[in-house]
């Protein structure tokens, strides 16, 4: 049973404009040293998938820089490995056709050649806005065992705890997992659990290819509405109910809460300490993190390459962060190479890469509205 992967790097870019102004959602930094794409990519690699196409749209420089040759995921291969699939626009098309894709289905039209030329039996698709460590090999096994045509990985959640954006698809399925309907999420008065699509899907490659050609011929533009829903009853569409740890990043506030959840031991265990399923990321060769005399760090996660002289509590420090003497950092996410001077005070701050916070600054947000400092800002 062989499978190739397909990762959509830009779908959901619009949900965190603060972090995706200069990058794809796939390359949004998360959890001290990772980028969001590390999770779907590692999940695929851990299932033995050694050919992964990454569908890009725009702003993908940071993504290319992160992925490199793919060697940090063991995907620098002579055959297979990482294939970056940038938008394909020929020089002779008329201007009207030179549009970038706007939907998942149009994105798939753009990579028809990749799908056609694969030799693998299955295609596993994934987005980058969900943080989980899922056994894709088991999803594939179940897909085969249930003789499904389309398997959609789903998660039962309570929207009261997971603020959902409109681009989430909710799934209706019976107790055996047979999907009877898929539709966009609508906020309602009703409380309680709903089942949503994690946008991780398995299909037979040839079936997918055939359906894409058909959809293109009919001028369809929605994957869920025109491919999944139209075929319910004709094809076997199954929900794979994922029970493990899961975080959805759909806004700056949910990014903040998903990050803070990493301070819980169970979450770290479910994400990073699963046997034989590590999460890989780009190696940066940072030196060890140095705690200087007088440093005080409590309940925080810290990457390599930091130099800490001040106080850090309930925070997430990325590689190369510096926290000066007398500075207090609480409930913050400080991304790569953020430099905080002496005697500053930070609470509920998210700083993007290379932010410089000078001596004595006093910045505070709230967990529902974190104070965000864009890339390279000096304050």
């Amino acid at each position: 049973m062989t499978a190739a992967g397909l990762i959509f790097s830009n779908i959901h870019d619009a949900t965190i404009p603060e972090l995706t102004r200069m990058r794809t959602i796939a390359s949004v930094p998360f959890g001290c040293k990772y980028r969001l794409i590390d999770f779907p990519l590692s999940n695929m690699v851990n299932a033995g998938i050694d050919k992964v196409g990454i569908v890009t749209h725009n702003n993908y420089q940071s993504l290319l820089d992160h992925i490199g040759t793919g060697k940090d995921w063991d995907l620098a291969r002579r055959s297979g490995g990482i294939k970056i699939l940038p938008p394909f626009i020929t020089a002779y098309d008329n201007a009207a056709a030179n549009k970038l894709y706007t939907t998942r289905l149009e994105a798939l039209f753009g990579v028809l050649n990749f799908i056609r030329r694969c030799t693998e039996e299955y295609i596993v698709m994934s987005d980058c806005d969900i943080i989980c460590n899922i056994d894709i090999a088991d999803v594939l096994k179940t897909h085969r065992k249930t003789k499904s045509d389309i398997t959609i990985v789903t998660k039962k959640i309570n929207p009261a705890y997971y603020p959902l954006s409109k681009d989430i698809e909710t799934v209706t399925a019976d107790c055996d997992g047979n999907i009877t309907d898929v539709c966009e999420y609508m906020a309602s008065e009703e409380q309680g659990q709903i089942e949503i699509s994690m946008n991780v899907m398995v299909m037979q490659r040839q079936l997918l290819y055939k359906m894409l050609l058909d959809a293109a011929a009919h001028g369809y533009n929605s994957f869920y509405r025109d491919i999944v829903v139209k075929n319910i009853g004709k094809l076997k569409v199954t929900a794979y109910r994922y029970a493990g740890y899961y975080s959805l990043v759909g806004s700056l506030a949910s990014y903040f809460s998903a990050s803070m959840k990493l301070l819980e031991p169970d979450v770290r265990a479910g994400l990073f300490a699963v046997d034989n399923r590590p999460i890989y990321t780009k190696v940066r060769n940072s030196p060890p993190t140095k705690y200087i005399e007088g440093a005080s760090v409590k309940n925080s996660i810290v990457a390599d390459g930091c130099v800490i002289e001040g106080t850090v509590e309930n925070s997430i420090l990325f590689r190369g962060v510096r926290v000066g003497k007398g500075t207090v950092v609480r409930n913050c996410i400080l991304m790569q190479d953020t430099c905080v001077g002496d005697d500053a005070s930070l609470n509920c701050v998210i700083s993007d890469k290379n932010v410089m916070i000078k001596d004595g600054r006093n910045l505070s947000g709230h967990e529902t509205m974190p104070f965000f400092l864009g890339k390279g800002v000096m304050i």
Partner: protein, 394 residues
């Protein structure tokens, strides 16, 4: 197909490092962990790459498993090259002879064929037991400028320590006039760092001659260098200034680790211009618990610290439980210090487990020595390991 290289580096990594006792029962000295996320060999390898030398032969002999696995295809150091790169050179069975490496000179002699494949003008000889950052390209430029046959890197050591080293006496042009291996009454303070650049043809000539001498101990310091001096070859001392430490003993290994601590450390690893590379495996970020106290220490990714850590270097994946205390110690990767255990003035090798409430070592001020726990040792709950003790699995 092999491309010609101007200079080939040969890294002597076969030594047992018997003065590191429990730390080298299962591992060759160059593969001993250092600074939390490095191994000793990362320093000469990174120096090679940063100096622009892309062809490195690593001569292994003693307990090569960990070292071989660590070096692999050389990817972490960018030494996975189509032409050149890093190559492991173990002793081998030849058509007419097969021998273990009998000494540093013999080890290079047995691999002359490897060197000749690259047809180099120069050969750089390095050893895998020193911690330092050095630009070998500058040394090579010096070697060419002096039109030397052999250049030996030297460092100024305190006169009272000079009798531990090979000492060079030089004239005003830095030409070596005399070499004394561990002299009782040293004439100078120019100590050999064990780093040599030879003109390839001269090296070959002296290695072949030395091999033919049954009395020779087949060592660079004892045989090759004296023979070349006696023949009045052009030999120069290249003065090196900066941090350099031989980590061949327990106390020097401990000191070198401690030299990384502090705001202005003796050896700065946070150096964009001269990075030290090492092999990384996927590990999660380090977690520092609500009750943890960390003071003047280095901590690496993958650690979970719930206890107290002071003046220590903690390797990747180490777990330090609640109420546990680690002071003045070096803890290597994946060791576990369980709740309430105390580790003071010790070196704890990888995958060692120190049980609940156990005590290892003694306060530095009163201890008779550094306690050393070898790889994979398990200290039972509540046990006590004395200062200066040496514990290994077998």
């Amino acid at each position: 197909m092999v491309k010609k290289k101007e200079c080939v580096a040969m890294l002597l990594a076969g030594g047992q490092g018997s003065r590191l006792y429990a730390l080298t029962t299962k591992t060759a000295k160059p593969a001993v962990s250092f600074g939390g996320k490095y191994k000793i060999i990362d320093f000469p390898l990174s120096n090679c790459v940063n100096s622009g030398f892309d062809t490195v032969g690593v001569l292994t002999q003693y307990q090569p498993l960990v070292l071989n696995e660590y070096i692999g295809n050389g990817l972490p150091w960018d030494l996975d090259r189509t032409y050149g790169g890093v190559k492991i050179l173990p002793p081998y069975q030849g058509h007419t002879r097969s021998d273990w490496y009998m000494g540093t000179a013999n080890a290079i002699y047995q691999n002359l064929e490897f060197i000749e494949r690259y047809d180099p003008e120069y050969v750089l000889i390095l050893s895998g037991d020193h911690i330092y950052k050095m630009d070998y390209a500058k040394m090579l430029a010096y070697h060419k400028e002096k039109q030397a046959d052999c250049t030996i890197a030297v460092i100024d050591v305190p006169i009272e320590e000079a009798s531990r080293f090979g000492i060079m006496t030089t004239d005003e042009d830095a030409r070596i006039t005399k070499f004394a291996e561990k002299p009782k009454n040293p004439e100078s303070t120019n100590a050999s760092m064990g780093i040599y650049i030879f003109n390839a043809d001269k090296l070959k000539k002296y290695l072949i001659a030395d091999e033919a001498d049954p009395e020779s101990s087949k060592d660079f310091g004892k045989n090759i260098i004296p023979a070349m001096l006696a023949a009045k070859e052009r030999m120069f001392a290249y003065p090196f200034e900066g941090y350099w430490k031989d980590v061949g003993t327990i106390s020097s290994l401990w000191e070198a680790n401690m030299d990384l601590l502090g705001k202005k450390p003796e050896l700065e690893l946070n150096d964009e211009a001269w990075r030290i590379y090492s092999r990384h495996y996927a590990s999660s970020p380090q977690y520092v618990g609500s009750e943890a106290v960390i003071d003047n220490s280095l901590i690496i990714e993958g650690c979970e610290i719930e206890g107290t850590v002071k003046n220590s270097v903690i390797g990747s994946g180490v777990k330090i439980g609640r109420g546990a205390t680690v002071i003045d110690s070096v803890i290597m990767e994946d060791a576990v210090i369980e709740e309430g255990a105390t580790v003071v003035y010790s070196i704890v090798d990888s995958e060692t487990v120190i049980g609940k409430g156990a005590t290892v070592g003694e306060d530095r001020a009163t201890a008779s020595g550094i306690a050393v726990l070898g790889r994979g040792v398990r200290v039972a709950d509540g046990d006590k390991i004395a200062a200066g003790a040496m514990v290994s699995v077998d």
